[in-house]
């Protein structure tokens, strides 16, 4: 049991950190521009594919740097030549634009790399067990994922709190007009933030790509979870996104290990369930089986009870 707990914790933290890299970018974009970017997970996917392709051409380490940059460039272009044009039509049009964009990116990926999963294997340079705990290996690349995400978080923190641009962005979050009036180019800030957010998603994609499966469906599979994180953490709050990412990562990983159901709980409490009861099937579902729906359950619950999320400062 201890073994499962230890490894569930480690796996949960890695998964949580990867979710955080994705959700921090989304949160950044949302807080500045008010746009819920449905295509955010698509940039994650682009990061995975770019690193695969660049890795083939120029090796893994340069790709690790260049792939997120490429994602940032794509993000900047999307903002400048797409999103900006629909900005005047309100949030629904913006959401729909990114929604359509997610379709298009998905299909472009298929166009470039085919429909099946690609062989995006862990590069040999980082594919070795870091340590062996109770007979189970812990791979190095997962530790590297952790290190990169933590480093990213620290970088963001400093950039946000200490640099001039960071301060301007922070000001623009609350008083965009004032910032504009003071002579700062707010539209350019939008491009910058969108690029940084996309780049972060791309970086998550680079390291998430070989930990998961690089295939054209990966954005669809991960997208909704990222929304859950952002909402549960509180729209616009980076620390909130961090807490929510870790919580969801760990809860989801631990849930898999738990083979208990409501029926077991009733039995332990001495409540008998009639064999013909319509809800019997519901009671018999193990927590492990229900693991994938836990995040959505959290999302709906959170939106009903506290729509601003854990750390959010505003409702909308």
């Amino acid at each position: 049991m201890l073994e499962i707990a230890a490894f569930s914790l480690l796996n949960g933290v890695v998964y949580g950190l990867m979710l955080f890299m994705l959700s921090s970018g989304l949160t950044l974009i949302f807080s500045l521009m008010g746009v819920l970017n449905f295509a955010h997970a698509s940039f994650f996917m682009l990061g995975a594919y770019f690193s695969f392709q660049l890795g083939r051409w120029i090796g893994f380490w340069p790709a690790l740097v260049l792939a997120p940059l490429a994602c940032a460039v794509v993000g900047a272009l999307v903002e400048r030549f797409g999103l900006r044009r629909v900005h005047g039509q309100g949030h629904v049009a913006e959401i729909l634009f990114t929604f359509g964009l997610s379709y298009v990116i998905g299909e472009l990926v298929i166009m470039a790399w085919g429909r099946g999963p690609i062989e995006n294997r862990v590069p040999a340079a980082i594919d070795f067990p870091l340590f062996t705990l109770m007979g189970t290996n812990y791979p190095f690349y997962k530790a590297m994922m952790m290190a990169i995400s933590v480093g990213m978080f620290a970088f963001l923190w400093v950039a946000f709190r200490r640099t001039r641009v960071g301060l301007v962005i922070q000001a623009a979050l609350t008083h965009p007009r004032m910032v504009g009036a003071l002579g700062h180019d707010v539209p350019r800030l939008f491009v910058l933030v969108f690029a940084v957010g996309s780049g972060l998603a791309g970086l998550a994609g680079v390291i998430g790509g070989f930990a998961l499966l690089t295939e054209p469906n990966m954005a669809v599979a991960l997208g909704p979870i990222v929304f859950v994180v952002v909402v549960v953490g509180g729209l616009g709050s980076i620390p909130g996104a961090f807490i929510a990412s870790m919580a969801i990562g760990i809860v989801q990983t631990f849930a898999v290990a738990l083979d208990y159901s409501l029926a077991d709980a009733f039995r332990a409490a001495g409540i008998a369930v009639a064999p013909g009861s319509a809800l019997r099937e519901l009671y018999a579902i193990k927590i492990a089986q229900a693991a994938p729906i836990i995040p959505y359950f959290l999302l709906v619950l959170m939106l009903i009870v506290r729509p601003r999320g854990i750390m959010g400062t505003r409702d909308q």
């Binding site: 499962i4 490894f7 569930s8 429909r115 189970t136 290996n137 998961l212 990966m218 994938p292």
Partner: protein, 408 residues
């Protein structure tokens, strides 16, 4: 404004063309050609086209050429029914489908209803990969023929192999949470109990179908259970990712699988699978002393690394079709179906038989293990499967609950 939809509908009329020419024997291939499962669908489509071309080059069936009509169903039961309707309207008399038992249930049901409602315009359904046992038991009917061994037949072969290995003490079952995965789990439990009551089943996991991104938590559970053997019916991404997580954690167990040799899986497990990964199939590329001429021709025509000659059962399917057409001296679906019932053929892997009582093909099965010393590797690796045991067609037969109702 109301005139707009009406006018559009009229415009649609002009865009549609529903020509029906009946010179050829049209075979509808309905499987995923786009979306997540497309790699499997595209690969088997090549097999179907390959055999259709081969038969046409030899003069066709009763003077008719085979024309393959391909339809993309996106592994969606509802989409499949739309495509089925379209195929029937375009004059298809035989429908071939395989990926996904859920789709197969929808198609078999729809074919039965169509044939009941449209006597004289019957279509046949050749199922080459959907192996839920129900399809040839409680849901069997005269128009459905299955050319792949079902879950129970394959599990019988796997558990026979397990029974022979005294080192196996603890078994972990991990399967997808739907009818097929549940059937695998149930079959494993009942057969192990009968054949090796001393084996302990230390885990019986059902995980969501094609939704799990990272199998590490499941692997941690397998590891903690102390299992020495894992039995799984997982396919496609679920197989690949399970292997990947196992490899990362250094999991050393025997894998008894249905689709461990499926596209992408062997590269995912790599060297760790040597001696440990076993599968049950009707063929693998080291099954015969010499590669089958069809395999050679297929590999010559399709040269991608993913273009494995994987669906031997489609060779059997078309061999049966050719023999049935010759026996019936007609390509009429009803006559073909009657000719197929009880049909026996000799093939390179041994004699095969189409059971008359439930329309399940009996063909030899191979239990094989991944090896780095195999003569032929797969998917560009030097790893390939070698046969541990071969089960003759007659030995694979299991009792059926099917009550076949034949027309007129």
């Amino acid at each position: 404004m109301r005139t707009i939809p009406c006018l559009t509908s009229l415009a649609v009329a002009m865009l549609l063309n529903c020509g029906t020419a009946a010179a050829d024997l049209k075979i509808a291939y309905i499987d995923p050609l786009s979306g997540g499962a497309a790699s499997a669908g595209v690969n088997s489509q090549k097999h179907v086209q390959f055999y259709a071309d081969k038969i046409n080059a030899a003069g066709g069936l009763n003077g008719e050429k085979i024309e393959v009509l391909s339809y993309d169903n996106k592994v969606n039961p509802q989409e499949s029914l739309i495509m089925l309707k379209k195929a029937i309207d375009e004059g298809a008399r035989i429908v071939i489908q395989g990926n996904g038992s859920a789709v197969a249930h929808a198609i078999t049901d729809a074919v039965l209803k169509h044939n009941e409602r449209n006597p004289g315009k019957e279509v046949l359904y050749f199922n080459y990969a959907a192996i839920d046992p129900a399809l040839t038991n409680e849901k069997c009917h005269f128009w459905h023929f299955r050319f792949d061994a079902d879950v129970d037949m394959k599990m019988a072969a796997l558990t026979d192999a397990i029974a022979q290995d005294p080192k196996i003490r603890k078994v972990y079952l991990i399967n997808q949470d739907y009818s097929f995965g549940k059937a695998v789990s149930a079959a494993a439990k009942s057969m192990l109990k009968a054949k090796r009551p001393d084996i302990e089943i230390v885990g019986d996991e059902l995980h969501p179908l094609q939704k799990v991104q990272d199998f590490s938590p499941y692997v941690a559970k397998i590891k903690a259970s102390g299992a020495d053997t894992v039995i799984t019916g997982n396919w496609s991404n679920d197989m690949l990712l399970l292997f990947k997580a196992g490899k990362d954690a250094g999991l050393k167990v025997n894998w008894y699988t249905y689709y461990g040799g499926g596209l992408g899986s062997v590269p995912a497990i790599g060297k760790d699978g040597v001696g440990m990964l076993k599968q049950v199939t009707e063929y693998h590329n080291n099954a015969l002393p010499q590669p089958d001429p069809d395999e050679v021709a297929f590999k010559k025509r399709y040269t991608g690394t993913a273009d494995e000659f994987y669906y031997w059962r489609l060779k059997n399917t078309f061999a049966m079709l050719v023999a049935a057409a010759a026996k019936a001296k007609s390509n009429d679906p009803v006559k073909l179906a009657r000719a197929l019932e009880g049909m026996k053929l000799d093939t390179p892997t041994g004699p095969i038989e189409m059971r008359a009582d439930n329309h399940q093909l009996l063909q030899p099965l191979f239990v094989s293990t991944l090896s780095d010393k195999a003569k032929h590797g797969i998917e560009g690796t030097n790893l390939g499967f070698v046969t541990d045991r071969k089960i003759d067609a007659a030995q694979t037969a299991l009792p059926t609950t099917c009550k076949m109702q034949r027309p007129g």
